[in-house]
Amino acid sequence: MFAFNNALARMFDLFYTPFRSFHPVWGLLAMSAVTGLILLFIWKYTTNQKQMKAVKDRIKMHFIEIRLYQDDMGIIWKTQARILKQNLRYIVLVLVPALVIIVPVVFILVDMDHRFGREALEPGESALVKVKFAGRGGLPEVTIRAPEGVVVETPRLRIPVEREVDWRIRAEREGDFDLAFVVDGDTYTKRLTVGNSTRRFSFIKGQATVEEAFFNPGEDPLPKGSLIESIEITYPEMRFRFESWVGHWLTLFCVFSLAVGFGLKPVFNVE
């Protein structure tokens, strides 16, 4: 799974390479457009286009029927029932393609969240580092070691009820840095990304599980069974602003990919 994720990450990296020196919104819009196009083709080749056209035509026909016989309540009720039936047929027809579409979309979304969900720290910017411990009982002793270019600004903050230890760190220059955490003689690391670019980076690092590999790609996981359950860096959330609108990348993705998909439907003759 990790190898697959790494290969996928490289593929996405390649896609975003031309956009690295621009504002992240351009990479986001480009990926949304490509996704819209891919979904359109998947839709075209995984659905029974003839049957779908037939179902949609029938629904249209029933609407005409309602307009023509609007004074006859009996016909209207029957027509409503037929429309419902055709709608259910339509849902059955799109069920399989929808399941097929989900697979690439989930991979794309997970990757996008690691590029557009958070912003890498800017030099001079601070962030919270959270170490969560597995198991129960007292908190193990933990120390943080920051490489040159990163400053640990506060003493450790222990929250026994949450099994958590926090620090505030500050990045002094651009680059990728490995923060080290020493617990009972074992050292664990977490990558810190500093610098503005459309790069995929990991916010949280957990123990090696399939779920972890899928949802938190980009960094080797912590060994299974280790004292530390996860290490998280709270990068600032990336917000996109257009005039008075401020929003999450997912809103932009949905709007733009759907717009591209619907806009190109007639061009590629897709139902």
């Binding site: 919270l128 600004e153 506060t154 003493p155 450790r156 903050l157 222990r158 929250i159 026994p160 009820v161 949450e162 926090d166 620090w167 505030r168 709270t234 959330e237 602003r241 005039e243 008075s244 609108w245 401020v246 929003g247 809103t251």
Partner: protein, 675 residues
């Protein structure tokens, strides 16, 4: 068909010409030729005597440069010399009789209740109460680009096309002039303090859960107070804590300030909020706050700044900027900034919730933000051919208020050890203003007219005078319950049917005039005139039994010092205190302390410098890079002067003169009594 070589040239030239037209003059470099540019810097409370001394000591080289190459003078201030009044004189070129701002506090004559004088909020929203036309409105009518940042007495800002941001008078989201919150595990007696909410909290398992208190939403009995919950985790041993408010989590070590943190007060359900956010709308109240972890152990003490409007969102029912969205644009460029009027938290220092060092740290944030703001907008100004740019700096005023005692060895609240530690604070901030000026002078070049002004000067505030107690003891105020011999705020125990005069605000004294006040008993005309004459005579004769000094230097009759359409709401008398004296805080809010304690009291608050005295003793400063042609410039002269720089005539309401032109005095200049 191929175009000929000649046709290509003609087409090329046409496109080039069109390009020049489209790009227009605004894209070119700053130039004095063909257009006039004026830069005005306002340094609140900068004192001429201290400025002169520091210039002589070589500590203000840029002010010296300006004074030597142009002009430096004391600047006649307003009557009374209070910031909202004085800056309104500057803005309108009129005295308070014209612009209608007479004190920080005004009163409703019908019920004697006070309200903040510069703006009012009702069902229709928030309105600016200052009357008269701001000089930059006139400039805009003449097509001159202008930017006016943080000028006092301009909230909500007058509707303009040019960028402007409201200043002093802009409230926090509670609608106050700035209410801090202080969360503490120490048992509290007495509850809230002046300018702050004190909230006692309990720590369980090293965790504290509490809420930031927002405004009341709704009307009457249906109004509910909105809150933003937050959680604090404190390390069991180390002096460090984590705070979670909304989606924000941050760690502070003891003695550390947070950056600005957005604080959202939710009014609707989360689902509705998500739906609204899809169309770029919000129902929530958006504010920002700074947190300061004063102490983690053994007691927990957390200071939270007043909740400022979030500049990324338009505040409901009001505005802090023009054009709409300018505050957001500015915040994108310089980051979050204080939007409340006077941002330096003088109350927190006065009430001992911040100490001097912490207050200076907080003031530094304000100054740094203002410098960033100033520099950002200066770049836009430099790109213009013909423009006015005004930027206001507050720092010198609150610092002079709070550290005045360290400039005055005779102040009653002066500790020798602190004297050495903080004696240089005020001069230090004058040198910081000098750096701001130096940067501006270097950037604007010679073609721009530069003016630097302050609204008033400063002096020590040693003794407080309970004017309402004096009025009571002298029979001008009668109490309903005479056994009490005192009254709480807002004259709660005053018998208005027997009271002839009362004081409200820092310098204002009103007659209880028949036909004007709700329960007025003094007949207008002869009776009122006699009473005014009697009060003036008695007040000017008051001496302080402790020092033997005259406490009130001059009492001004409003009919003699004011002119204009707003004079009907003026106080009848304006009390001009002598240096070292001022009306007590109790007087300002209509309180009558028991006369057994005397009319005077030592000022033992850290608010130890002041300017609410006789206007003659507290002038401001005026520095210009052009020679001053009149010997006694005043605040009301500056609006006509600025208009004149652009070749625009002053309006008939303006009473001032052009300070750069010699010639006979024109118009009615009631303010000349000031000089």
């Amino acid at each position: 068909m191929r175009m000929g070589r000649r046709t290509c040239w003609i087409a090329g030239l046409a496109i080039f010409g069109l390009g020049l037209l489209v790009l227009g003059p605004s894209s070119g470099p700053a130039s004095a030729a063909g257009g006039k540019k004026v830069l005005v810097l306002g340094f609140d409370g900068m004192d001429p005597n201290l400025s002169k001394r520091l210039m002589e000591e070589g500590k203000l080289p840029n002010f010296k440069r300006l004074a030597d190459g142009g002009g430096f003078s004391k600047l006649g201030t307003s009557i009374p010399p209070q910031s909202p009044v004085a800056w309104s004189n500057f803005i309108t070129g009129q005295n308070p009789g014209g612009h209608g701002i007479f004190d920080f506090v005004a009163r409703t004559p019908e019920n004697y209740l006070p309200f903040l004088s510069t703006s009012v909020t009702d069902k229709k929203g928030t309105r600016l109460l200052r009357r008269g036309t701001a000089f930059w409105e006139i400039l805009e009518d003449h097509g001159i680009w202008n930017s006016v940042l943080r000028v006092p007495s301009n909230y909500p800002p007058v509707d303009m096309k040019g960028p402007s941001l409201s200043g002093m008078g802009t409230p926090d989201i509670l609608g106050t002039y700035g209410t801090f919150s202080f969360y503490t595990t120490e048992p509290q007696v007495g509850g809230d303090v002046e300018g702050g909410k004190i909230i006692e909290v309990k720590m369980r398992n090293n965790m504290i859960e509490s809420s930031l208190v927002g405004p009341r939403i709704g009307e009457g009995g249906d109004a509910v107070k909105v809150e933003a919950p937050f959680t604090v985790w404190v390390d069991p041993e180390e002096a460090v804590a984590k705070i979670r408010v909304g989606d924000e989590e941050f760690v502070l070590a003891q003695g550390e300030w947070s950056d600005w943190k957005p604080v959202e007060f939710k009014v609707m359900s989360k689902g509705m909020e998500i739906l609204l956010s899809l169309v770029g709308q919000t129902s929530s109240l958006h504010s920002i706050a700074r947190f300061y972890l004063k102490e983690a152990h053994p007691e927990f003490n957390l200071y939270v700044s007043p909740l400022n409007f979030d500049p990324f969102y338009s505040p409901p029912g009001t505005s802090i900027c023009t054009p709409d969205g300018y505050s957001k644009k500015l915040a994108k460029e310089i980051g979050y900034f204080y939007t409340q009027g006077m941002a330096e938290d003088t109350w927190a220092l006065n009430e001992g919730r911040l100490n001097e060092k912490e207050f200076l740290q907080q003031s530094e944030f304000v100054l740094q933000e203002r410098i960033r703001m100033f520099r950002c907008e200066l770049e836009h100004f430099l790109q213009k051919e013909q423009a006015l740019y005004f930027c206001y700096f507050s720092t010198t005023d609150p610092l002079s208020h709070m550290f005045g005692r360290f400039m005055d060895p005779g102040h009653p609240l002066n500790y020798p050890d602190e004297f050495e530690k903080y004696g240089d604070v005020i001069p230090h901030y004058y040198t910081r203003m000098d750096s701001v000026l130096g940067y501006a002078l270097d950037r604007v070049g010679e073609g721009t007219t530069v003016m630097v002004l302050s609204d008033h000067g400063f002096t020590s505030y040693r003794r407080s005078f309970h004017l309402n107690t004096w009025l009571y003891e002298n029979g001008y105020i009668q109490l309903r319950d005479k056994r009490k011999k005192s009254s709480g705020e807002f004259f709660v125990n005053v018998d208005w049917r027997k009271t002839r005069a009362y004081a409200l605000g820092i310098n204002c004294l009103y007659l209880n005039l028949k036909g004007r006040e709700g329960y007025g008993i003094v007949k207008p005309g002869y009776e009122a005139d006699q009473l005014l004459a009697e009060l003036v005579e008695k007040l000017e004769a008051i001496t302080d039994p402790k020092t033997g000094e005259q406490a009130i230097l001059r009492v001004y009759r409003s009919s003699e010092v004011y002119s204009g359409d707003a004079i009907e709401s003026a106080p009848d008398l304006v009390v001009g205190y002598n240096a070292g004296y001022r009306a007590s805080w109790e007087t300002a809010l209509g309180k009558i302390p028991n006369p057994e304690k005397g009319f005077f009291g030592d000022n033992l608050k850290k608010w130890s410098g002041d300017h609410c005295m006789a206007a003659e003793i507290i002038p401001g400063v005026l520095f210009t890079n052009k020679p001053l042609r009149i010997p006694d410039p005043s605040l009301v002269d500056l609006a006509p002067t600025i208009l004149n720089e652009f070749g625009i005539e002053k309006t008939p309401e303006m009473i001032g003169r052009n300070v750069f032109a010699e010639g006979p005095e024109t118009g009615s200049r009631v303010e000349s009594v000031m000089r």
